[in-house]
């Protein structure tokens, strides 16, 4: 298919300005970079993490007063799907040692380690077993495995990359356990890239002092997820996995301990009471909230459910204001929207251009600044391209690369990107790409300690839904390590807690009643019902015809 005739017309403007820009580039000249003062202004005004617009103090709960993105704050100020007075908590449908909520990388690791310690485990997930952001991580997984490296350097790189805002005990756990996690995965039969003598193939990444990025082809996360899922299936005697059945409310016993959750079968619309001695939240990130309308690289189910459940029960967050954006996500063709375009393209000399084919920013600003300048060009200047599916985009002039470095450079240096676009009829060595910033990762989340404990006894959490380990900026390869290391820890620690002899007392939903009272007192009118479980991408026209929803009739009531 390639570009539409209309977009091809616009590309002519890019081609028209190119000879002059190439001439500049050959002389080593570029669009001037911003001064530090100018950076602060554009960040303040246009970077979603910095700008005040779209952010506000949350009105209720343990983090009351904390300034968060509107989409996040709104979900934290939400009410339950269920009316507590109608729920019979004495009729227990499932009884287990450990309840794991979420069946991605962290959930499966937790379930397996809890099972290793002799626990009966129920693992629930709102989609299929293994549907998670873990599956989508391509690049790799960090661990200090070589002789020139050590947990010390993993700690250093991680906390420096996070601008020293990380929670130290979490970073220590991550760097300490990372090699153990890799060893565990190897023993489960994961196909790591290895040298012929068995040594792991490890590479550098942004912000690394040592080669620490281990991988399995260019689908490391998918390989991890396949192996963990298969192992969990092998242990069906101890681990029951229930698909399309999320947890929609935590249960707290009369002593204040977490005693399980209420589950919701999304296919039959039944609710079930699951009593558990320990509960592990591993529900993943929030890319699908599309903060400020951004596209994202995330899985369909990344809707922040775990943070919502915990917050309502009194568990606060860490770094929840911070989200990772990548400046150059694909905005055309539609099937690639949100996918990352590596920084390398700009590193090789490609300019970033507006609809007139003009440069409007230095192409190698720091990620957050580059993102802000692109957003500014679209929203304030009004010179972004509008794609046939109604998306903003700016041109990334990749054909310059071959012109600057010789024919064949694009193919050689960017093989995966070349093939990805070629599949859709676009030769990026001859035609520019359309890009726009994309949401990538939930940096913050549920507050935990180095052993995955929350402030509620019996309630643990692990993975992208937690906050603190990455601080305000995550390094590549630490997300996969996060889910494995903290998933394992959560499983071990929860099992220790169960095995020490726990008795769940009478279950209550008092925290829900109390929180809704707080909402009313804070003047939150018509709070949304959450967790939202899945995003809704229907058009306004379709939504306006859904009269049952328009009238506010909720099936769950």
């Amino acid at each position: 298919m390639g570009y539409t005739p209309e977009l091809k017309e616009l590309i002519k403007r890019v081609e028209a300005t190119r000879p002059k820009r190439l001439e500049m580039a050959r002389k080593g000249e570029n669009f001037p970079a911003l001064t530090l003062e100018e950076r602060a202004v554009v960040l303040e005004k246009f970077h979603p993490d910095y700008q005040k617009e779209g952010r506000r103090p949350v009105k209720t709960g343990p983090d009351k007063g904390l300034v968060l993105p509107e989409e996040v704050a709104m979900l934290l100020e939400s009410r339950s799907m269920l009316r507590p007075e109608h729920v019979k908590l004495d009729k227990v449908d499932f009884d287990t040692d450990v309840l794991v909520i979420g069946a991605g990388g962290a959930g499966n690791s937790a379930a397996l380690l809890a099972a290793d310690a002799g626990c009966k485990v129920i693992m629930v997930t709102k989609l299929r077993h293994g549907d998670a952001n873990t599956m989508m991580a391509e690049g790799g997984i960090q661990a200090a495995v070589h002789e020139c490296d050590s947990p010390f350097y993993h700690y250093m790189d991680t906390i420096g990359g996070g601008h020293f805002t990380n929670q130290p005990d979490l970073v220590a756990t991550l760097s300490h356990d990372a090699p153990l996690s890799i060893n565990w995965l190897e023993g489960l039969g994961m196909m790591f890239n290895k040298h012929p003598d068995g040594r792991l193939v490890s590479r550098h990444f942004g912000g690394s002092s040592r080669k620490r990025m281990n991988s399995a082809g260019d689908m490391t996360g998918a390989e991890i997820m396949r192996v963990l899922r298969d192992e969990a299936r092998s242990r069906s005697d101890q681990i029951s996995t229930i698909e399309f059945t999320p947890a929609v409310e935590l249960l707290i016993d009369e002593e204040g301990k977490c005693g399980g959750a209420i589950l919701y079968n999304m296919e039959t619309r039944e609710f079930f009471i699951c009593r558990a001695k320990a509960t592990i939240i591993a529900t993943g990130g929030n890319g699908r909230l599309h903060i400020k309308g951004f596209a994202c690289t995330n899985h369909y189910g990344a809707t922040m459910d775990g943070v919502v459940l915990c917050y309502r029960a009194g568990v606060g967050t860490t770094c929840m204001w911070s989200t990772q954006y990548h400046p150059t996500g694909v905005s055309y063709p539609e099937q690639n929207v949100g996918l990352l375009i590596t920084e390398k393209v700009r590193g090789l000399g490609a300019h970033v251009l507006n609809v007139e084919g003009e440069q409007f920013c230095f192409p190698l600003e720091p990620r957050d600044v580059e993102s802000a300048e692109i957003i500014k060009e679209a929203l304030e200047v009004g010179k972004a391209v509008l794609t046939p599916t109604g998306r903003y985009g700016v041109w990334l002039d990749s054909p310059m690369i071959d012109m600057l470095h010789g024919e064949g450079t694009v193919r050689r240096e960017l093989p995966a990107k070349f093939i990805q676009f070629e599949r859709h009829g676009i030769d990026i060595s001859k035609e520019p790409m359309l890009v726009y910033p994309t949401l990538h990762y939930q940096n913050g989340g549920i507050a935990i300690d180095g052993d995955c404990r929350t402030v509620i006894p019996g309630l643990y959490s692990a993975g992208e839904c937690t906050g603190g380990v990455h601080g305000e900026n995550r390094l590549m390869g630490n997300s996969l390590q996060d889910v494995i290391t903290f998933g394992r820890r959560a499983g071990i620690v929860a099992a220790q807690y169960v095995n020490s002899g726990v008795e769940v007392k009478k279950l209550t939903m008092d925290h829900v009643v109390k929180y809704e009272k707080e909402l009313a007192e804070a003047g939150v009118e018509n709070p949304v019902v959450a967790p939202i479980l899945l995003p809704d991408y229907s058009t306004d026209e379709v939504a306006s015809r859904r009269l049952l929803q328009v009238q506010g009739m909720l099936e769950a009531e």
Binding site: G130, M136, N183, S209, R210, F294, H299, S538
Partner: protein
């Protein structure tokens, strides 16, 4: 597009994964399970279905072509071929006649990896139906990832676990191969077993990793990590700036840093 080549300030813009039909954009008819809908061209099947008003529970996953939740079967007019694609990766075409197959039953054998050996006859015993393959190649034709499914099934019949593991590596376990198999073989489950056998028993072990694991378990780094957690921002920043960087071209396991006190 000529109307909207530069973005008017108040126009409604597609947010997240929601598509808005821009002025003048063309729509095309597609048939979702036999029923006609008009959708914008250039959308993926997944987004076209959402545009039409479907909200997925099954049939959507990573939306990036790697999780296997959205396999879709379609036919085109005047073409006897059955086409396969992932809904999140395949662009709609006019008059496409489609249905999603979000789940297809396939039996997975019961095994514990630690109790078995990497031997072809182990695979044969767990999956005797492997030998019902008649090499019809429907599996390969159905694979949305272009995996040579018949190739890895043949490799397993030939007893070559390593080859089967390598050939099947891109499998996303969507189940389309099994749906088309006249031998009723659950190909993707067998491939999973082969890959895990290969990873655990046939690939060489990472000896250096085992050494590091032993060091960690012996508590070698506990004191160091304890100290780091108590360090001030300034101290950390100083140490951070002093880090040596492993040379890009140093092969793994060869470079020796000058400062060895933290290793």
């Amino acid at each position: 597009m000529s109307q909207s080549e530069s973005t008017p300030k108040k126009t409604q813009i597609a947010t997240g994964d929601r598509a808005i039909l821009p002025k003048g954009a063309k729509t095309i008819p597609i048939f979702i399970m036999g029923k006609q809908y008009e959708v914008p061209e250039t959308l993926t099947i997944m987004k076209a279905m959402e545009f039409a008003g479907f909200q997925f529970l099954r049939g959507a996953g990573c939306r990036g072509g790697i999780c296997g939740a959205c396999p879709t079967v379609y036919r085109m007019p005047n073409d006897y071929k059955i086409h396969f694609g992932l809904a999140c990766q395949t662009v709609v075409e006019a008059d496409m006649y489609l249905a999603q197959i979000p789940f297809y039953p396939a039996n997975r054998a019961v095994y514990k990896l630690e109790d078995i050996e990497a031997r072809p006859d182990m695979i044969n015993a767990l999956y005797p139906e492997l030998f019902r393959c008649v090499a019809c190649n429907n599996c390969t034709k159905a694979c949305p990832m272009n995996v040579d499914v018949l190739g890895y099934i043949s490799a397993l019949k030939q007893g070559d676990i390593a080859r089967a593991a390598e050939i099947s590596f891109d499998c996303i376990q969507c189940g389309m191969c099994a749906s088309r198999c006249m031998g009723e073989i659950p190909q993707y489950h067998i491939a999973q077993l082969a890959r895990r056998m290969y990873g655990k028993y046939i690939m060489p072990k990472a000896e250096h990793l085992q050494k590091r694991v032993d060091e960690i378990n012996a508590g070698k780094y506990d004191g160091l990590l304890e100290k780091l957690q108590k360090m001030s921002h300034e101290e950390l920043e100083k140490l951070y700036k002093e880090r040596e960087r492993e040379p890009d071209l140093a092969p793994n396991g060869t470079w020796v840093p000058q400062d060895a006190q933290y290793l």
